[in-house]
């Protein structure tokens, strides 16, 4: 069974560069945890410290109550899946999966059993005598998963395992990984820069930036209540409105908005964030009677992007480019065209209020 894995005030410095800055976290047995962040945020470094390929500069990594800082990677019994698959090109699928078991001097009969079990588990039956170069990317990554799981690791660490695959395969393998984790009850620690992947897979997501944890929570919490403007932009999409607060009223250019909880904020400049799918279209998705009148604005449609299930409409509000996402079915009802006028409604409770903006996106 997996045991609790604890990061206790862990830091990692590369010379003067601080890759990971004093982070702490309890990872529960059987949990699916995702480290999510842009490249260079330190997420891979954390994974490598857990695997033992990097030494911590300060702090402790504790597994099952024991500090494992100095335990060599071979003795940690953690499985690792790499972005580049890292299959041994000189070995067949069979030999790749058996490698870890051979290192453990397991009797050949048991090895064969375990390898067959893994081949079945990952839908690779019949491919056992093939070499990695004869397999597709998706199959190779399944072999890599089988190889890592064959040693029955106490924790499985995955470093952007799906980044090298094309979109369709990526989504399919995502399901495979999620099912494996739920069936085997093994702790999985997953590193990715793909927010969709993190939200789809994780029990808990850790948002990282500049070597620090910015928010830890369920995918739902992180999406619904992003703690900072950075997270609001990085996870999903948000429209940002740079506003000034005067006499308890929020002004965006010539417009005045009502936003829930705005009285909690003392600063003069505030940033309102609203997700494109939370903007309503008056008399289409919301009746006008239910709207706070000041939050209704009329805009001109600039661009219409058909994205499949949703249609994204680009418009300008006080010179700022913004988006509204409309379910395709709703869009059909109104059949908008470029330069059409449309009345939008910004529900007061759909706004998130921030006092800093991480940077203006172009």
């Amino acid at each position: 069974m997996s045991k609790k894995l604890v990061l206790e005030n862990v830091s990692k410095h590369f010379g003067s560069l601080i890759a990971v800055n004093n982070v702490s976290l309890d990872i529960m047995p059987g949990e699916f945890l995702c480290f999510l962040g842009p490249s260079g945020c330190g997420k891979t470094t954390i994974l490598r410290m857990i695997t033992g390929f990097e030494q911590v500069t300060a702090g402790n990594i504790i597994y099952d109550g024991k500090i494992i800082n100095d335990v060599i990677p071979q003795k940690r019994e953690f499985g690792i899946v790499f972005q580049s698959y890292a299959l041994f090109p000189n070995m067949t699928v069979n030999q790749n999966i058996a490698f870890g078991l051979k290192m453990r001097k397991m009797p050949q009969k048991l090895i064969d059993e375990r390898v067959n079990e893994m081949l079945g588990l990952l839908g690779l039956a019949g491919w056992d005598t093939h070499y990695p170069s004869q397999l597709s990317g998706g199959q190779q990554q399944r072999v890599a998963l089988g190889r890592a799981l064959a040693i029955k690791p106490s924790v499985l660490l995955l470093d952007e395992p799906l980044s090298a695959l094309d979109a369709k395969i990526r989504v399919r393998l995502r399901t495979v990984i999620k099912r494996l984790q739920e069936e085997l009850g093994i702790t999985m620690i997953y590193v990715t820069h793909d927010q969709e992947e993190a939200l789809a897979l994780a029990d808990r997501v850790v948002i990282m930036r500049d070597g620090e944890f910015r928010q830890i929570g369920s995918p739902f919490d992180i999406y619904k209540e992003p703690k900072t403007s950075f997270i609001a932009e990085f996870v999903g999409t948000s429209n940002f409105l740079t506003c000034t607060k005067k006499n308890g009223k929020i002004q965006f250019g010539r417009l005045e908005f009502v936003a829930a909880n705005s009285s909690d904020v003392a600063e003069e400049t505030v940033y309102l964030a609203i997700r494109p799918e939370n903007i309503e279209i008056v008399d289409v998705t919301v009746p006008a009677d239910n709207c706070v009148p000041s939050n209704i604005v009329e805009v001109e449609v600039e661009v219409i992007n058909f994205l499949g299930a949703v249609v994204r409409i680009t418009f300008f509000l006080e010179g700022e480019e913004m988006f509204v996402d409309l379910p395709e079915k709703e869009f059909e009802k109104i059949s908008l065209k470029r330069k059409d006028k449309v009345k939008l409604y910004f529900p007061p409770d759909a706004f998130h209020i921030y006092t800093e903006l991480f940077r203006k996106l172009i």
């Binding site: 090109p89 000189n90 290192m103 495979v176």
Partner: protein, 578 residues
């Protein structure tokens, strides 16, 4: 396949237990901790003992009276003697003269040859490229042997066709033979440089209205300047340290390398030999350091976007470059043809009837020398490629302490002339307790150390092509250093390993200067036999011995080609064998 792979999940969370009975052996991992330090120390000791110690012995003998180290014994008497004796001092001027002349000629010749290979659309490029690499398969004595047959006192061209009294012995002979010897070495550098520089730069300049001459002087030449300097530095180094050609064709024209040999072998003046070694070491070391810094810059210039799409050359350009390349190739072929034919005719150039009598070697060594050479070369090949691969692996992937220091030690052998190293070996190891002295083993070690640099550099560049995650995957699955190396790294380096093997084999078969001091009454080597035979007047047999070496090396290269083809690695003749 869709969905099927989720069907067979019969392992449940309850069964999921870490199987401790099949854990990773702790003892094995404890031992593993010592593997990398042990290998690092072994390599450091190897280079200390077989490179620095012999060098130290030379320094000791040249700077200290009686070779006894101590402040009171410090003396510059040897150097004073050297610089005040006009005969020995001349060797320095001679060496510098022939080296500078050779460097200038080779750099210009090879630049245009490489230019033809990379910037024109002449046909027969594969042929030209293979021909210019040919000198690598023969000892650096073949040029001198052939030139004497053609332009010597009884030369085919001088004495028989032109009937003139002029002959090629002396400085001219050395320069011509060194030029023909250095061609492939300079070519590899300039070919790489010119193929790496983006040809579209030339096109861009042309489209902006620059004349072809302007393009050449303003774009092509400057973009290749580091390659040009690097090729020049290497040529200088090769020429000033070469022994085989000057000893055969130099006659009374002594150079540093031949002077070292003369002092030691004829006059038994080991101290003066050591002193001249130090004097030879200075310019060759400077050329090496220059080359080292330049070649770093060469690599910085190589752009990933460079694409060798060559626009069709104008007819005149094509014709003149074809003629030029034919002339260069013809000179090289003539050298080989002369030596090979010379070994089969009765009396060159009087009696052209064919005979095998020159292959009945009259010297003590004879065929046993060839077999010794082959055996020594096989051991050098296996040992050299294995040690450099292990050293490269440990340095590249395991990052031991003192990595930079070991790296420095590993590139040093390229800076040390083989003759100097060989003399160092005599001075250092000619003691009864060094059991390997006087056996073929000291030759094996010497040749491995002398060629260590290129071996380890090619090992490292090969290892850099292996995804570091593969190594980490093995470790995470419980693989220790030895298992990871033998089960994964070594199989993945097979082709590179064999290329290295052939390189070491070739060097060992053809080297003269490194081993000339190490052959003995009982240990003979084929390459050295050439000098001995020529010295004793058996020139035709010297040619025959040379031919034997060429054939053996070519056979080995043929095997390399077959092996590489089988394993599916792209090969481009001899260029990639380097």
């Amino acid at each position: 396949m869709d969905g099927h792979y989720l069907g067979a999940m019969n392992t449940t969370a309850e069964e999921y237990v870490v199987p401790v009975e099949y854990g990773i052996s702790s003892t094995r991992m404890e031992i593993d901790r010592f593997i990398v330090p042990t290998v690092t120390i072994f390599i450091a000791l190897l280079l200390f003992f077989f490179m620095l110690f012999p060098l130290w012995s030379i320094l000791q003998l040249s700077f200290f009276e009686g070779g006894q180290f101590g402040i009171a014994n410090f003396t510059l008497a040897n150097f004073k003697k050297y610089f005040t004796t006009s005969y020995t001092l001349n060797a320095l001027w001679h060496s510098l003269y022939v080296s500078v002349a050779t460097t200038i000629i080779v750099t210009i010749l090879v630049f245009f040859f490489a230019y033809a290979m990379t910037r024109t659309t002449i046909s027969g490029k594969t042929f030209f490229r293979n021909v210019i690499m040919m000198p690598l398969v023969a000892p650096s004595i073949i040029q001198a042997l052939a030139l004497i047959y053609l332009f010597g006192r009884n030369g085919l061209i001088t004495a028989h066709f032109l009937k003139i009294d002029w002959n090629i012995y002396g400085a001219t002979g050395i320069i011509v033979s060194e030029v023909l010897y250095c061609l492939p070495h300079a070519f590899v550098i300039l070919y790489t440089t010119l193929s790496a520089v983006d040809i579209r730069l030339d096109e861009a300049a042309e489209s902006l209205g620059a004349t072809p001459l302007k393009v050449f002087t303003r774009i092509t030449l400057p973009s290749a300047k580091y390659g040009i300097f690097s090729a020049a530095a290497l040529t200088f180094n090769l020429t000033i340290t070469d022994f085989g050609n000057p000893v055969v064709i130099g006659a009374d024209y002594n150079v540093l390398a031949t002077e070292i040999y003369a002092q030691v072998t004829n006059l038994y003046r080991f101290d003066l030999g050591a002193t001249i070694s130090i004097i030879l070491l200075v310019p060759s070391l400077m050329a090496f350091i220059l080359n080292y810094y330049i070649s770093r810059k060469t690599f910085a210039m190589i752009s990933g976007a460079a694409k060798p799409v060559i626009p069709p050359s104008r007819p005149l350009k094509k014709i003149s470059f074809t003629i030029y390349c034919c002339l260069v190739s013809f000179s090289i072929i003539i050298i080989f043809a002369t030596v090979v034919i010379g070994s089969f005719v009765k009396i060159w150039p009087y009696d052209w009837s064919l005979t095998l009598s020159h292959y009945k070697f009259p010297s003590i060594g004879g065929y046993s020398a060839i077999w010794t050479s082959v055996w020594v070369s096989i051991f050098v090949g296996i040992g050299g490629s294995f040690i450099t691969l292990v050293a490269g692996y440990v340095m590249e992937t395991r990052k031991p302490f003192f990595k930079q220091f070991i790296y420095l030690l590993s590139v040093m052998p390229a800076a040390i002339p083989g003759l100097v190293m060989g003399l160092g070996y005599i001075l250092a190891f000619n003691k009864p307790y060094y059991f390997f002295y006087g056996t073929p083993w000291i030759i094996v070690i010497n040749v491995i150390i002398c060629n260590f640099t290129l071996g380890i550099l090619s090992s490292i560049s090969n290892l850099r092509n292996i995804d570091p995650s593969i190594e980490e995957a093995s470790i995470s699955l419980g693989g220790d250093t030895i298992k990871t190396f033998f089960k994964i790294i070594f199989p993945l380096s097979r082709v590179a390993f064999f290329q290295n093997f052939v390189y070491f084999f070739m060097r060992s078969m053809t080297t003269i200067s490194a081993v000339i001091f190490l052959v003995s009454a009982t240990v003979h080597l084929a390459a050295i036999e050439i000098i001995m035979l020529d010295n004793d007047g058996w020139t035709a047999s010297a040619n025959a011995m040379c031919t034997c070496i060429i054939v053996i090396v070519l056979i080995m290269l043929g095997i390399l080609q077959i092996v590489s083809k089988k394993t599916g690695t792209h090969q481009e003749g001899l260029v990639s064998a380097l």
